[in-house]
């Protein structure tokens, strides 16, 4: 029996508003091949077409395949007309399902291991027509992704969020990131909330830019062509791609979906480099904050792409098709690096500068020779131009901005634990961390837990495999506000002495293939400055008010954003609420 690991599926490349020659722009994605149940229902995700606004459930139509076919299943929508696809609930279901599976497999490909959702189920549930509302979100407690639909502003048609490649990939990334780093939904700095949004946008944008039809369109709009489909070499500039290409696309996306996400594509192009964004009041809000990160990555993407284009073709011209292929290639490569970097990020209180160091470290580990893409130079430059200086400067003779190996590895005691067990057993790993608590700077009063232990195998561009074990541990310390000064943490002005506060800390520990600690990346719970800043930020933003959530609710984001304008007349200088 022939083995077909993947199958093809036609989806809309961006969303139904983006057309080429009067046809909705499409792309064919590759998703894991599996014998699907009707729904579709697969091994990691299934569609449930329940609409809570009308309280109606729709039985899925049988778009299924022969279980034991020698051929991979045919693409069921390849030859359908636009009108048929728009009107087909089966296509809606398959498009959402396809993007979820594609995003999941992109993560698994990049990380070299299977991923778990953050909840206790192997399959995420997807409601493609969840409610009549211009909203879409991931819910951890409901173990699902919800995509709304709503009437367009002229009331003449319906807009389906499940038909937006960007939105489905964005929400799926929230779910995957929550599985990888469960503490990123804790109340922390504006940057931690912004990271969830920004990272979801980055994955969504780079996924879209991995679709050839989209990148061809970017090339057509951004790089003027001479006759015969060749691009004039002198017109290949970052500015050209940025200004005409992506911005043109963003305008086509229309304003209908703009309220749902921070229209990442448009903003990230408009946001010109500047070092003060993150310190400004504007970045107190999660989406605005995340946009700075998106802009840094997207501009690096354009720089790398242009570098590649300069290296190909003859002196005067280059082929349009080839230019587009390079664009998808760079997007694919950069996306892998971004996803891998999560393993090298601290498990708690993440800031963009940590992500910058993680990106540089992980790429240097996997692709020591960076002459082809010059990816690290471009990333470092772009991040710095947006005021995101890597957390680590990088030791001498190592990649600038990358994490340093831990200085005190000699002090670590390995004798009483077994690495073979440590690769998969959290209890064994906990023993190792506990026995080395001084070296790991654990706080003895705090509650310590190993969140995960994950062995992974990655293939570097040099063809060699990289075996690593990535573990995370986490510390929580619950205190009354009156105790804060004793721990060197400043009590926010106005916070009553009996307010209960929680401090977090934790590290990601990377073990090499010999079981030795290669990196120890994290945030100590004892960091007084960080803890003081975090509490002040949370206090100012109402996280301690009655009714404030203990974790970030993605379903409320949209609502919160809409009321931003309205609430912003409250000034802590003269208006304070009752407790």
């Amino acid at each position: 029996m022939a083995y077909h690991p993947t199958r093809k599926l036609t989806i809309f490349a961006l969303d139904p508003s983006v057309k080429s020659s009067n046809r909705i722009l499409r792309t064919q994605i590759e998703i894991p091949n599996e014998p699907l149940e009707i729904g579709p229902r697969g091994y990691r995700a299934f569609i449930i077409d329940y609409d809570s606004s009308t309280d109606s459930y729709r039985d899925p139509a049988p778009v299924r395949q022969a279980r034991e076919s020698p051929q991979p299943p045919a693409d069921p929508f390849e030859h359908s007309s636009d009108a048929a696809l728009m009107a087909s609930p089966e296509f809606h279901a398959f498009m959402a399902f396809g993007i979820v599976m594609k995003t999941l497999s992109r993560f698994e490909f990049a990380l070299g291991r299977r991923l778990s959702w953050s909840f206790l189920s192997h399959q995420i549930q997807i409601a493609p027509h969840a409610f009549s509302d211009a909203n879409a979100f991931y819910s951890d407690s409901a173990q699902g992704l919800f995509f709304g639909y709503f009437p367009s502003s002229d009331g003449k048609r319906l807009v389906y969020t499940c038909l937006s490649h960007e939105i489905v990939a964005h929400e799926t990334t929230h779910a995957l990131l929550d599985g990888l780093r469960e503490r990123y939904t804790d109340p922390s700095s504006a940057q931690q909330a912004g990271f969830h949004e920004g990272f979801a946008d980055i994955v969504a944008l780079l996924s879209i830019l991995s679709a050839p039809s989209i990148v061809e369109k970017v090339v057509d709009l951004g790089l003027p062509q001479a006759r015969g489909g060749a691009i004039r070499r002198e017109s290949v500039t970052v500015k050209g791609l940025r200004n005409s290409g992506l911005f043109g696309l963003a305008q086509e996306m229309g304003s209908e979906l703009a309220g749902i996400h921070g229209h990442a594509l448009r903003r990230s192009v408009k946001l010109s480099p500047g070092k003060n964004y993150l310190a400004s009041g504007e970045c107190e809000e999660a989406h605005s904050c995340g946009e700075v990160l998106v802009a840094a990555v997207l501009n690096a993407y354009l720089a790398i792409w242009v570098n590649r284009l300069r290296a190909i073709g003859d002196h005067t011209r280059l082929d349009r098709q080839r230019a587009a292929e390079e664009g998808t290639d760079v997007a694919h490569h950069l996306l892998s690096v971004c996803i891998r970097a999560i393993d090298y990020c601290p498990p708690t209180d993440i800031e963009f500068s940590d992500f910058a160091s993680a990106l540089l470290t992980v790429d240097a580990e996997l692709n020591p020779d960076d002459t082809r893409y010059r990816l690290r130079d471009s990333l470092l430059q772009s991040f710095c131009s947006y005021g995101i200086a890597p957390t680590s400067k990088g030791a001498a003779h190592r990649q600038a901005g990358s994490w340093d190996p831990p200085p005190d590895t000699a002090q670590l005691v390995y004798d009483r634990t077994h690495f073979e067990n440590m690769k998969s057993d959290p209890d064994e790993l906990f023993r190792f961390v506990w026995e080395n608590r001084e070296a790991f700077r654990l706080h003895d009063q705090a509650h310590t837990r190993v969140l995960s232990v994950r062995p992974c195998i990655r293939i570097g561009r040099d063809g060699f495999t990289l075996r690593e074990t990535v573990a995370e541990y986490h510390q929580t310390l619950k205190l009354f506000a009156r105790e804060l000064p004793r721990f060197g943490v400043t009590r926010p002005r106005g916070m009553s002495a009996d307010t209960e506060v929680t401090l977090y800390g934790g590290n990601a520990v990377i073990f090499d293939e010999y079981g030795h600690v290669k990196y120890n990346i994290g945030k100590s719970i004892l960091d007084r400055r960080r803890q003081s800043n975090r509490l002040t930020h949370l206090w100012k933003n109402g996280a301690f008010e009655p009714g404030a959530g203990k974790a970030r609710a993605f379903s409320r984001l949209h609502l919160n954003r809409s009321t931003n304008w309205y609430r912003a007349i409250i000034s802590p200088d003269y208006t304070t609420a009752q407790k």
Binding site: I48, Y50, D51, S52, S53, T54, D55, S56, Y57, R58, D59, P89, Q125, A127, H129, F131, S132, D133, A134, S139, S141, A142, Q143, G144, F146, Y149, F150, P151, S153, G155, L158, S255, G259, G281, E282, E285, S288, P546, G547, S555, R556, H558, L559, R561, S562, T563, N564, W565, Y566, R567, A568, I569, I570, S571, Y574, T575, T576, A577, Q578, K579
Partner: protein, 440 residues
Amino acid sequence: MSASPTSLTIRMYNVGFGDCFLLSFKYANRSRHVLVDYGSTSAPKSTPKHGPKKYPTSYMSVVAEDIKRVCAGKLDAVVATHRHRDHVSGFSSDTGTGQVIATLSPGCVIQPWTEDPRAKASALSATSSIYTRGRPDHRKMTAHFLGALEDMHRAAESIQQLADRSDLAGSQTLEQLKFLGQDNVKNPSAVRNLLHMGQKSRAYYVNAGMRLNFLPGVRCTVLGPPALRQSDAIRNQRTRDPGEFWQFRSFWASQSRGLTRSTAFAKRRSVSKATAHGIPPPSVRWFVNQARQVHADQMLGLVRDLDDVMNNTSVILLLEAGRRKILLPGDAQIENWAYALSKPKWRRLLSDVNVYKVGHHGSRNATPKSLWDLFHRTGVVGKADRLETLCSTKSGKHGSARSGTEVPRRTLVADLRSRSTFTSTEELKDEFCYITDLAL
């Protein structure tokens, strides 16, 4: 001197969850009466011992008759702080109480600027611009803001209907949805009656900073609601960006469209035989319940938010008569108060208030700590000229104790009780009306 009143009697009627206050100023030759709000969304819990027998079933008409009796057929002013049902339902002609008030031919009607029919005449479609010659135009923004309020009414109506679906969520959530939905549904009859009464006499559509002279010898300062131009001035930098206003506007337009339109797609859906009995297949039941709950929570968030916006259209009046100050803030919450509290002059003016009508039935957002801390007549029992606080409320209707949003807020009531002479309609056992007299 006959031009100034010598005493004031305040009547706080027990209308369950709602507000109804009658202020009677005594002058040398006659009394003048001001009715501040007259609405209810939930009947009083107890039957007063000395009240009329029909009180539990028709408490609103009993109150109307009592107002008519006290004011001897003539009201000098009606204040409708904002258009929530629990503040204006009594003005509705549908139940007859509105006619009773109309026959008292009020000398003037005071409402917030958001009720001004002239502003509405220029209301624009949700997609039209807010700019004039490249600059944000406050007149257009005002029209858009009013458009957003209309959208909120429509959204509330759909949410109220949604609460009839008993399988949607737990009973507590459903009750909240129904209660808040109902309170925010447009009340056209009351709105019309208030408009007509104003047209017959004099209508004031007020915003912060106005001075009203409708009672001789009584200074009346309007402390809220701020007009958009005013609130814009204190808005933080980022949200002065018209894009942020736009987000607010288009969000509510889209909510109103999404909630009120039955969609074409839904009609084309075939519900399977299994679901014809309302039972989806076993493999999806858990998720369907989760989805319902998620949806109900979303709707609750939505209706809470629009409830806040409506509350913040409340008129805040400060009356100064003789040596007394009476503060009547309707349901104004912290966002409305923010403007008044940003003015040092008004902070000083507020510091020696004698009577405070507790804002929004005792919710935590309506008596900002920074306002409460300004009052210096607060203190323990026995303090001379101690602050008197009047709270018209009914617990168990609004918010939840679990999330610290219950109305009245337990901690606030404890503070009001210990530091002021506090009366709540919930405590009225023998009477349907609490009466307090002040020498001016």
